[in-house]
Amino acid sequence: MKINRRQFTLGSTTLLLSGMLPLKVNSSMLDNKKNLVVIMLRGAMDGLTSVPYIHDNTLEKVRPDIVVKKLLDLNSDFSLHPKLSGFHKLWKSNVASIVHATNIPYTGRSHFDGQNLMESGGTIPYKLKTGWLGRGIDVAGLEGLSMSLPMPLLLRGKANQDNFFPSKLSMPTRNLVDILKHHYDDEPLLKKSFDKLISRPISMTKSPNNKNLKTLARIAGSELKKIDGPRVAVFEVFGFDTHAAQGGADGEHGQKLKQVDYTFDVLKKTLGNSFKNTLIITLTEFGRTLVQNNGYGTEHGYGTSILLGGGLVKKSQVYADWPGIKNKNLFEGRDLNSTLDARSVYCSAMSVCFDTDFQLLNTEVFPDEKLNDLTEILFKV
């Protein structure tokens, strides 16, 4: 798996994309626009490295070579990885929280099946061909604008999505663009795509060569804070599959967490005042084993943690029905257990950000599942 590939995806409302822009933008309009940012952490983020349990010394015993030192304080039971210092500032400002001992209901430990399920929101790999976020956007009557190649499953829904990702390529001359515009008249889908392509804002036509995470976060933040801009952004950070050299504070896992931290940090700075109406949330396929392996890494596990940041977070808290990490508490004797279906968190997040009833989203996006409504516990409603 490549460890340096990242991308982000944006979603926008149909109304605002269709060119019916408000004549006058006032601050109350901006106040009502809520943004949802999902950061997909591919490779299985270790919840016990990002948010270690410190109530006892179990981790020190079972991970003698990779236990994280110089932790950042959260509360008496949990600390934060030192590479998440930007996230820690949000915590201190009461706009960051953590859900721990959670996961999607998948115990197979296959990255491919797990990533498929974390994006589709289903329980049988590859059964669903759309993503939970895409279906949520459909329910809320929004339309997606993906800024990635290819379109992540997470954002696929019924709606015909747009997609964009920075490249060095450029459009031909205005003359040819005008000719093609009419040339595609009798091909509805071609015409629709081309019309959207040529009506892109300047910020999307002058693509930076630099596709690093900070640049992408800056572009995303700039677009999200526009009243007529997108409302959903999706990032991907690869490389959490640390079977070897996972390391402690400065290890491979820590480096990946640093990238996540950048994303929170850059988005906060770029969003400015809009940060108060934004929710940033992480998503991964599963956690990692409690005990370190012979390669100073960890194997595929089950329960993990979710990081949440932004002004829509209710308060700084670690929300968990903590199962414990003694042998008897572990899932199949090896993994942090999951005591909360992570889809409850995501369904609640969509409910808050899309101003859409939780039960409706539950029924339409995750049919046949009875999820917990956590909106009032986790978010400002």
């Binding site: 070579d65 296959s110 491919f112 099946d113 498929n116 790999p125 590859y126 993906s146 190649l149 290819p150 379109m151 499953l153 015909n160 999505q161 747009d162 997609n163 964009f164 990702f165 490249s167 060095k168 390529l169 450029s170 459009m171 031909p172 001359t173 003359n175 040819l176 000719i179 093609l180 040339h183 595609y184 009798d186 091909e187 889908l189 071609l190 629709k192 795509s193 081309f194 959207k196 392509l197 892109r200 079977h243 070897a244 050299a245 390391g247 290890g251 491979e252 480096q255 012979n294 390669g295 100073y296 890494g297």
Partner: protein
């Protein structure tokens, strides 16, 4: 004459070619025998690739991770060297070049279009670097020869191929009524089926969900398949050093003894290894006769080669050929070609790679590197990675589909602003680099006369375009994007 036929079932005609006097005969003759490869550069067999992939897996997992467990930087440096030694970055571009060379310069473009179709039908996901090491030879050595046989042979040979067994985790499956499961039970452990392969054999490779199979069918299909694996025999240290990269074999100890019930038919296994081993073939024989399988794959062929919404008349012709020939792939393919010729006026939005190959062939673009040799010591030179970069820019790396159902054949999955932009943008970039400078008026006229029926309409369209942009306009035109 329906000149779009040459793009519908092939990659169009190059300017040095002449229009075949009998297009149907031209196309059918190409699917009757395994074409000799036009490629004269380096090529590696599936067996050799298992050595490369096995070496990479073993060295990385067993040696480097332990040796450099204290230093991420040293581990990464050592792994990079190992990647060079095992051609980790080399083989995917090599396979792509061979694939593209056969499409553009080979004598059997129609055969290769069918190979692309079946390679996608039996897709290997982006998993464990299989796209780098294994998928190219899997297409050439497993799928291509079986395309001349019966559909039953093709499905069976793919199902027990190393690539598919690994792709869909069949080695992790243990039959609940198998000797191994009983041994597990004695030690208080449970042995489980892995349903991944069984499910996809039904859903994606044969009958499709239209057959109305149940979870019990999936479970029993998985039981039938249990025992087919690339498990490493512990007694052989040589094989162990290739990790899972060893040939697939049938191990009866992991095989469920049945009985099995798949799609309403009961299968009872008689005693002995041969009977256990043959059970999968028996079930596949029935699956490919199932009306849902015949309809599903016939329609998929029509979707790919003719139009994404084929009429019953078109699909039924292929179904009929399938039934009459009892699944003879040459007859089935031949009928697809007949229907594609008959209905060549129907339009189909071309996948990015197909469009790219048509553009390269028709334009005579200077596309291929002088050679594809490699030193196995350094990073692959940039020019030798060009095809992969272009495919990535277009959003379709053919050996890396993201899901087991492969790349879509439907317009709505490919027609988005960015995907359209990538095609136009690549043409524009090539023009700006002077790569299309040879496409003057007479060259373009020749391309149009060879490949399109609406010659005057296209020429009128190009007259509106500025002098140096006609080639960009032609290859991004609706007549080129939809064939």
């Amino acid at each position: 004459m329906n000149k779009s036929f040459f793009r519908k079932v092939g990659f169009g005609l190059g300017v040095d070619e002449s229009i075949p006097s009998n297009p149907l005969e031209w196309s059918i003759s190409q699917i009757e025998k395994l074409p000799k490869l036009n490629w004269s550069g380096p090529i590696y067999s599936l067996k050799e690739m298992m050595e490369f992939h096995g070496k990479y897996n073993y060295q990385d997992r067993r040696i480097l991770r332990k040796k450099f467990k204290n230093s991420r930087k040293d581990y990464k440096r050592a792994r990079k060297l190992l990647q060079y030694q095992t051609g980790h970055y080399y083989f995917e571009p090599l396979w792509l070049y061979i694939r593209h060379n056969e499409a553009v310069n080979g004598n059997s473009p129609v055969f290769h279009r069918f190979l692309h179709f079946w390679g996608n039908h039996f897709a290997i996901q982006k998993k464990n670097a299989m796209y780098s090491y294994d998928v190219g030879p899997y297409h050439r050595e497993v799928i291509a020869p079986a395309m001349l046989k019966n559909i039953e042979d093709l499905v069976y040979e793919v199902t027990i191929s190393w690539a598919m067994i690994h792709n869909l985790d069949n080695s992790k499956s243990i039959g609940p009524n198998s000797p191994k499961a009983f041994k597990y039970a004695e030690r208080g452990k449970s042995a489980n089926l892995n349903e991944n392969h069984g499910r996809e054999l039904l859903e994606l490779h044969t009958v499709s969900p239209n057959a109305g199979y149940t979870q019990n069918d999936v479970i029993d299909m998985s039981k039938v398949m249990s025992g087919w694996m690339h498990r490493i025999p512990k007694m052989s240290s040589k094989i162990h050093k290739r990790e899972e990269n060893v040939p697939v074999h049938f191990i009866e100890a992991y095989h469920d003894s049945g009985p099995f019930n798949v799609l309403g038919k009961k299968y009872v296994e008689s005693f002995g290894t041969k009977a256990a081993r043959d059970m999968l073939r028996k079930v596949i024989k029935d699956l490919v006769k199932n009306p849902s399988c015949i309809e599903f794959i016939s329609k998929k062929l029509c979707n790919h080669f003719i139009t994404q919404d084929p009429s019953d008349e078109i699909v039924n012709s292929v179904i009929s050929a399938w039934k009459k020939s009892k699944g003879d792939l040459k007859i089935i393919h031949s009928e697809v070609l007949k229907q594609a010729y008959k209905f060549s006026y129907l339009k189909k939005f071309q996948q990015p790679e197909t469009w790219l190959l048509q553009f390269i062939k028709m334009s005579g673009l200077d596309y291929f590197p002088k050679d594809m040799t490699y030193d196995f010591e350094t990073m692959i030179p940039r020019d030798k990675d060009r095809v992969r970069r272009i495919c990535r820019n277009l959003g379709q790396l053919p050996f890396r589909p993201l899901q087991p159902n492969g790349w879509s054949d439907f317009e709505e999955d490919w027609l988005s602003p960015e995907f359209l932009f990538r095609r136009i943008g690549i043409l524009n970039a090539l023009k700006q680099k002077g790569k299309l400078i040879h496409l003057d008026k007479s060259y373009l006229d020749r391309i149009i006369e060879l490949n399109f029926d609406n010659v005057s309409e296209i020429k009128t369209f190009l007259e509106m375009v500025n002098n140096n942009e006609e080639s960009v306009a032609l290859f991004s035109s609706k007549w080129m994007l939809k064939t």
